[in-house]
Amino acid sequence: MGKVIAVTGKGGTGKTAVTAMLIRYLVKNSGKKYRILAIDADPDANLADALGVKVQKTIGDMREYMQQSRYTTPPDTDKQRLFESKLFEILVEEEGYDLLVMGKPEGSGCYCFVNNLLRGIMDKTVNDYDLVIIDTPAGLEHLSRKTIPDLDILIAVTDESRRGLTTAERIRDLAREIELSYKSLFVIVNKVTSERKAAVLETASGLGLKVIGTIPYDERLAKFDLVGDPLMGLPDDSPAVKEMVQVVGALGL
């Protein structure tokens, strides 16, 4: 069973950029030690764009396909097997990692059966990788529906404001409420100015949060983000990329 890491945080904190940088770092520097699956579970963000990958279809599309096809599939079709194959069809196989996009939420009607199939398939899929990295919105939607299996590590990405850090605290409460199990909760503070760094760390420790990375505000990263260039092309010596050494070390990778 692989390690499952979810990266979450409010919009604007750079959560998706951090996720992409983490994947980028592991692909470039871990020497193919890990089979990596990236899951984009945030419909508002776009991990695929940040990774520079074109995605045609999502898990949501395939779930709809399953809903529609139930009237037409041959009677003895094994639907779990059909769904499994459809999900393999939309798996984006990239150099050093694979990507799945959750896509749109379900429509009206009953999704009990198809979501139950999805849970079974996702459990199996996750077992096929050493490392699963999930970009998930602060509401933890797919995790609460259990369509994504339990976590080893939950990472909250925040900005340097006090409010940002209290968001991390709230995510911890929400995880408890939806009975999401994880072994560790870490915080990565993004876009930190050098003069605020000490204060940020102090606030975090006051809230009982463990900070595993402080990513300095990075001009080049902001530029990449602005023009929509994939972060895979970031130079190795950019301060944000360099900070990933810390993060990866703290994650035990």
């Binding site: 089979r35 809903q67 139930r70 009237y71 041959p74 009677p75 003895d76 079709t77 094994d78 639907k79 779990q80 097997r81 059909l82 499994e84 194959s85 393999f88 069809e89 196989e93 150099e95 694979d98 009206s108 009607g109 009953c110 009990c112 059966f113 198809v114 139950n116 199996k124 899929t125 077992n127 096929d128």
Partner: protein
């Protein structure tokens, strides 16, 4: 002849994915034709243990390519009948996956396989080296297979030709499966998947009665129960029916009592009245009884307007859902409309008086032909009064009483006036005077809005009054 190679074979490799980086050859899948077929074959036409390759062998295929692929398994044995073909074929997925370095997905004409580079490293050069052990696996797992022969097709033209043959076999199989009825099986399946939303819902899935949500057929129940008999889908040994027409079975009653936490002790499969099936939360359609016409209306989730009883789908679904047994309302799946047992105890289609137009169009192939024009939609009737007029005009069975198809028993009396009022008496007298006693039933319907039975009811009352002789 290629040398035999010891492959790594174990159930622990089932579900192994071959990633693009590890790919040697890809077979079938979204980019190429592919199929698998098992054929019950007479023993004397099988050369046991033989593997034939038609087209390029695996050693001749360029690394990383995707090719069309077909595999035909001829199986024979004293106990092997046509019906076993698809059961044997479905085992392909697991047994082929037991081979380390081989991935198998999906089924029939949708198969998608990948052979990993690890098998190339092992020295595999021929399909024979992969498929000979498959024959042994089959015989070990299914001892009723006495002889087995495999043909592998990789020549593109040959794959196309053989695929066309296979399609005809699948089609014939599907026809047989569609002809499967409740009488033909010993086991039904229960489903409690939606108890999270509908705690007392205890769904029963049979060949003639798919689930309310529309997602689970009897075949799905069988597949799921096989994987995990303790899971949300479980077998129910049906045994003899208490009432075959209403679909009452002791085993189902027991199951309903247990799974509903004692809420319901009786649950019948093919009826609307007296202990109907529980309704979950998100059934595809709802049926509603309208006492004014003694008939049943049907609306689907997409119908947003009000039905003739004044209620929209959402209101009725809200009252019925949650795993309740509500006499007069019933959640139903789309596929149930195609069943020969569709509400058979209540008269089936002869009892249906109204349907939302979208639903009627969608299930028209399932509606009894003689009833097609007699079922109103929102275009014909928006309330009870206009529905009554429509049913009178088309001479719907509910008007004069429904005789149910299944046993030709008359189950409803037809419309009766609760009370013969003076107002009706006057109208009927005026009509009789106008026509000079020459009664025409069509004008009774159109001018008086009465059925023949109701007209006679008034005439009898007038005779009792001494007004008529």
């Amino acid at each position: 002849m290629a040398d035999e190679i010891k492959l790594d074979i174990s159930p622990m490799y089932e579900g192994e994915r071959i990633r693009k980086d590890d790919l040697w050859v890809e077979l079938g899948g979204p980019k190429a034709d592919g199929f698998e077929l098992s054929l019950a074959t007479p023993m004397d036409q099988i050369e046991d243990g033989k593997v034939t390759v038609v087209g390029p062998d695996i050693g001749e295929i360029k690394e990383g390519s995707t090719i069309p692929f077909g595999m035909v398994f001829k199986v024979g044995g004293e106990k092997i009948e046509k019906d076993l073909e698809s059961i044997i074929e479905r085992r392909n997925h697991a047994l082929l996956s037991y081979i380390s370095g081989l991935m198998h997905l999906n089924q029939r004409y949708d198969i998608w396989m990948r052979i990993g580079k690890s098998l190339k490293k092992k020295g595999v050069t021929s399909w024979t080296q992969i498929y000979k052990p498959v024959i042994d696996l089959y015989k070990a797992e299914m001892p009723f297979i006495e002889k087995m022969e495999i043909t592998i097709y990789t020549d593109p033209a040959e794959v196309k030709k053989q695929l066309a043959n296979a399609m005809a076999v699948y089609k014939a199989r599907d026809e047989r499966a569609k002809g499967l009825h409740d009488e033909d099986v010993d086991v039904f399946y229960g489903c409690t998947l939606c108890q999270a939303f509908a705690p007392t819902s205890a769904c029963v899935v049979t060949p003639d009665r798919p689930s309310l949500c529309g997602a689970i057929t009897w075949f799905d129940g069988r597949a799921a129960a096989k994987v995990d008999p303790e899971g949300p889908q479980f077998p129910i040994a049906k045994e003899t029916a208490i009432d075959a027409i209403a679909g009452e079975y002791a085993a189902i009653n027991e199951m309903a009592e247990k799974r509903s936490g004692g809420e319901y002790t009786t649950m019948k499969l093919y009826t609307f009245f007296d202990a109907p099936h529980t309704s979950c939360g998100c059934f595809e359609t709802i049926g509603f009884y309208m006492p004014e016409v003694d008939g049943i209306g049907l609306a689907d989730r997409d119908f947003k307007g009000a039905t003739p009883n004044g209620l929209p789908f959402s209101t009725m679904a809200g009252q019925t859902g949650g795993g309740k047994q509500v006499v007069g309302f019933l959640g139903m799946g789309i596929l149930y409309y195609f069943s020969p047992k569709f509400l058979q105890a209540d008269g089936g289609w002869r009892r249906i008086v109204w349907m939302s137009k979208g639903l009627k169009e969608r299930v028209k192939a399932g509606i009894d032909e003689d009833m097609m024009a007699k079922i109103a939609t929102e275009d014909d009737a928006k309330d009870i009064a206009s529905l009554k007029a429509f049913l009178l005009k088309v001479d719907h069975p509910v008007v004069n009483g429904v005789t149910r198809k299944v046993d030709s028993k008359k189950i409803t009396e037809g419309w009766k006036l609760d009370e013969v009022t003076d107002e009706i008496k006057e109208k009927v007298m005026a009509y009789i005077e106008k026509t000079g006693g020459d009664i025409n039933i069509d004008t009774v319907k159109s001018e008086l809005a009465l059925t023949e039975g109701q007209f006679m009811q008034v005439v009898e009352a007038l005779q009792a009054d001494g007004v008529l002789e």
